[in-house]
Symmetry: D2
Subunit: 342 residues, 4 copies
């Protein structure tokens, strides 16, 4: 941790900061600098101590800025766990050599629609089946999902086809219910900082698929993962799904593929890319799914609907079964190149 004093901070102000550090048993390094003084803390601090010290020091007179020299997350950090985490769900390994494709409709709309989706997903060679039962919708007037009925359909269909299932859970008090039916708990982008939900998902021990918030920094993203990990649940999967940007005329979001190698360097957790929400436009999904694979992602989550034109939600970003199959062929073709199986 480095504290930079304001220009013109008095010697007494510098000394107050130094003393606060000494009170914790650490001898600070005081560096008079270019018009302003910096103070370094040459010691390993626990997360708690660091947080306390930062809060305390940043309110002192004469302090301009407190800079952390290490990252605020720990359990999510590759500095902490060197080995890449592999999340195992039934026979699917997320984060290993397998490139995992998660496919399915935005929403579970009916047994027939969802069974047909599963059939297509399975026959195209994907291994994880997605579908929303509880839908977070920006407008209260949009279709809100089939709720528990949707979960039952999902479980039944997943079992029939031998597919791992994933669905979103929107609040802590629903974790138990959703965990009963689904294999993987999805935490949506809008819920990335729903801390009670993160904690409950952590306690459940179930694999947690955490989507990056639309304006979340990388530190915030990994700290959200930290909430889950901190409950003793190591099965966290990170998902980039596009960030909020200033041009929404052509795509819904900006897919930040550059985060893939960054997350791979700083964290040991698996990284999935969602090009469907990342672009919001079905005809750009295929190109971005391939780019995600080449950029180093461990898999993709892609919306596919048996009949996008009749979809009750997000029809404009869902692939048709035919295009989904072509995307799978693309990815299979590329997989050898990146040393992956599919």
């Amino acid at each position: 941790m480095i504290i930079v004093m304001q220009v013109g901070a008095s010697a007494a102000e510098v000394e107050v900061v130094a003393q606060v550090i000494r009170d914790r048993g650490i001898e600070p390094l005081v560096m008079p600098g270019e018009g302003r003084t910096a103070i370094g803390i040459p010691a390993s601090l626990s997360n708690d101590l660091r947080t306390d010290l930062e809060a305390q020091i940043s309110a002192l007179d004469g302090v301009s800025k407190v800079t952390q020299t290490s990252h605020p997350y720990k359990l999510a950090s590759r500095e902490y766990f060197r080995e890449s985490t592999i999340v195992r769900v039934k026979d699917v390994e997320i984060g290993g050599t397998q490139f995992v494709v998660m496919g399915g409709p935005c929403s579970v709309e009916s047994y027939e629609q969802f069974r047909e989706s599963a059939r297509i997903v399975k026959s195209a060679g994907a291994t994880v089946l997605r579908g929303g039962a509880f839908k977070p919708r920006t407008s209260p007037y949009s279709f809100q999902g089939l709720a528990e009925e949707g979960l039952k359909i999902m479980k039944s269909v997943g079992d029939e086809f031998g597919l791992v299932t994933i669905t979103e859970v929107m609040s802590g008090d629903m974790v138990e219910l959703v965990a009963e039916y689904a294999d993987i708990l999805q935490i949506g982008a809008r819920s990335m900082q729903n801390f009670p939900l993160l904690i409950e998902a952590g306690k459940s021990g179930k694999p947690v698929f955490l989507k990056r918030g639309p304006s979340a920094t990388i530190d915030e993203f990994l700290l959200a993962a930290e909430y889950v990990l901190n409950q003793g649940n190591p099965n966290v999967i990170l998902c980039e799904r596009g960030i909020m940007a200033y041009d929404r005329a052509y795509t819904r979001n900006v897919l930040d593929l550059g985060i893939v190698p960054v997350l791979k360097e700083y964290s040991h957790l698996p990284v999935i890319v969602d090009p469907s929400h990342g672009t919001g436009v079905a005809r750009y999904v295929r190109a971005m799914a391939k780019a995600a694979m080449v950029a180093g992602a461990d898999g993709v989550m892609v919306e596919m609907h048996p009949n996008p034109k009749a979809a009750l939600s997000d029809g404009s970003q869902a692939l048709t079964p035919a295009v989904f199959g072509e995307m799978m062929d693309d990815l299979r073709g590329l997989s050898g190149y990146v040393g992956r199986t599919i």
Copy 2:
């Protein structure tokens, strides 16, 4: 609603869109245009019908873009309720001629700290007392609040000083508990799209103080309010608290004061500005509180701590009691100018 076709869309594709509209009993207006055709729907649509039609049409072949010509929110709209809403809590009127100052510490840290805060808030002339009992913290290692113990302290101190109280509720299943103790339920920026929470807060009938998400558009913000209103709860207060921006070196967020006249034009709901989170720096709060008043806000929410240097959270943005008093004097001085009482 206007549908713009892709360039080169065939007559047959245009006809399919037109037929979908006719199937709803509306005669579309087809406008061949500059290289592409647009199709207008010259009718009032219910929210449900509009949402359905948009989902259905946007997945049709040859469709480039579906544009709404009216706003997606209804109950939050001034088109719907012409009169400005006044939210009455005890003897405080939010949205009327009174300029409402909500002051207090980030967190309830102890009975002594919070009672002293209330004393200062009261004696400076503010009418609403804020303080967090459940704290949404980016890091799991930061101070998380005193929970129910904090709520009890808040209620006891609020009653003693005759101050209206406001505190954050973080999930739907805690609404009942928080509503038992606090006068106003705050929904934090990170929870703006926590839909189960919005629905429960709506059902509670309590005044709901809704903070804008860090990257929420105005439509998303008003649709979040719509979730609460749609439960039959008309007591929604909007709060601008700064948006995520690309320069975080000098201020934590960018306070978007221009949203104040926009919200006042498009919505009938009261608008409060939070310059503490909006800037993240105590020494800019006073200037921005005044600017908020002049821009047309109905009040401000400001962090004040009896001793910011000892604060367990957000000390760097909390005003000292002395500066809080000066800010109140500033606002009183300006209030006549804007035709407000304080």
Copy 3:
């Protein structure tokens, strides 16, 4: 300057960094820290030396990040010049106690239109007359201005009414021409980092009105000012005019009023706010002009057109003469409150 090493950087890598610093005659402070080592440079560095060192060190093996502990600008900094700069143009003082209103149309369209604009500006009590002769237009198909003919009209009209004139210059090779006619050279938002232009404007010695780029950080903004100052021209006026944001449905830009107290703290240069471009909507300009005054700005630049409905550019954000007059009354009413004259 603080150098933070990567986790696991070797002692040899740390030593290479330390040696590079020692080679410049400075003894580095090495701070082994939380899993990673930081290295401080406890000395005042010239701008050149700092820039060199940063470039050199950031490419060394094992280095994670190089952080500056002081700001990259110098001549623009209040650390350098404690006194607030007042830019004097004829009898107008920008940055002093006078609150300066710059009004006029987006473009000089004709002698009649511009003379009528000047008459209104003058009679409302404003002191600076704006109007574009060379217009930077996003589309090549938009009206591009009257060029030198426009400059002549501006000069003639400015002289007639005794108004200081300001107009935009778009490239370095046009500085001489524009400087011949106008009192203040405006550098537009899109040109903020047009470095050859900044240098020529600096050499001209004329007052330079520098608009912040739509996504410029504060450091970038002040470094652009530094280019002008560095040519020996102290007459720089900063202008906030709204930044690019993700919601453009209601306003064209987000007016960042929070930058006003920041600029006043870190720089000695005068600060003007442009609520016309900052919002892009005429009916929000009045509220934001008042908010700018209260936030501490030294003046505002506002678009006014004798007949906005007939304007050749930006008609939707121009005030009518009547509303411009009302805004002037508003500002006069508030001026006493902020200790300004108008």
Copy 4:
């Protein structure tokens, strides 16, 4: 073009808008709608007429919004030119089946450094040599380039190795000079809306490499290209180089790869990706160069320095010769997969 009226706009206000359209000889379609009226213009408009009408109508009373249903650019549009443009420079074809790699240092620092760069670029199999002679630097205290001396070095070295050369030109009055030495004129991100420069570059007839501005929308980007095309110069190459985003802690910019399929759909111009500036971190360049190829780009521009640790600018994002060679091998390996040669 669609005009949406304000709620409560009077019949008279609607009629004024309709009459303005009729005055241009077009019969408007008036659509009374959900609380508000929309007015469609069912005709092809010239760019000039459209711009005029938009300016005029948006200032009329009762008008809420004017929406374009077609894109504002024309010559850059694939609607206008169906065939993909191939820019031919010597024996290099940009936009054809060849995947073009542009490599070289940020700056031409000396004859030796640049000749060595060219040797490495050539031997690795790249065909275009980049290097800055005039450098746009955020700070006036940073290295500003060798100017004409740098151009001479570039030309001599390019000729020696048979490499096409590209370098940045920063202002209109320097186009002639730079065009004398370089094969391709680069217009930097900060200059994307330097309209006098765009016009001069257009007049030169030379191939123009146009970088997207850090916060440019796609429409603004293609309108900048339109300025060049509108001078009769069809040789424009588009370059995505990362956009400004809110998290700059790990990468300098966010590389927007999703723009590649968008540009390919809406424009006929070649698209190059610059992963060096797009990430700002050398160790992420390789992954993003491959992702760019797979996403459909026509080539990449990559910074390589014979000795990044000694670079006078941007050393932290330059590849070493060894990694540059590995990237070329990667791209060659992938090229068959995407049906390209390299």
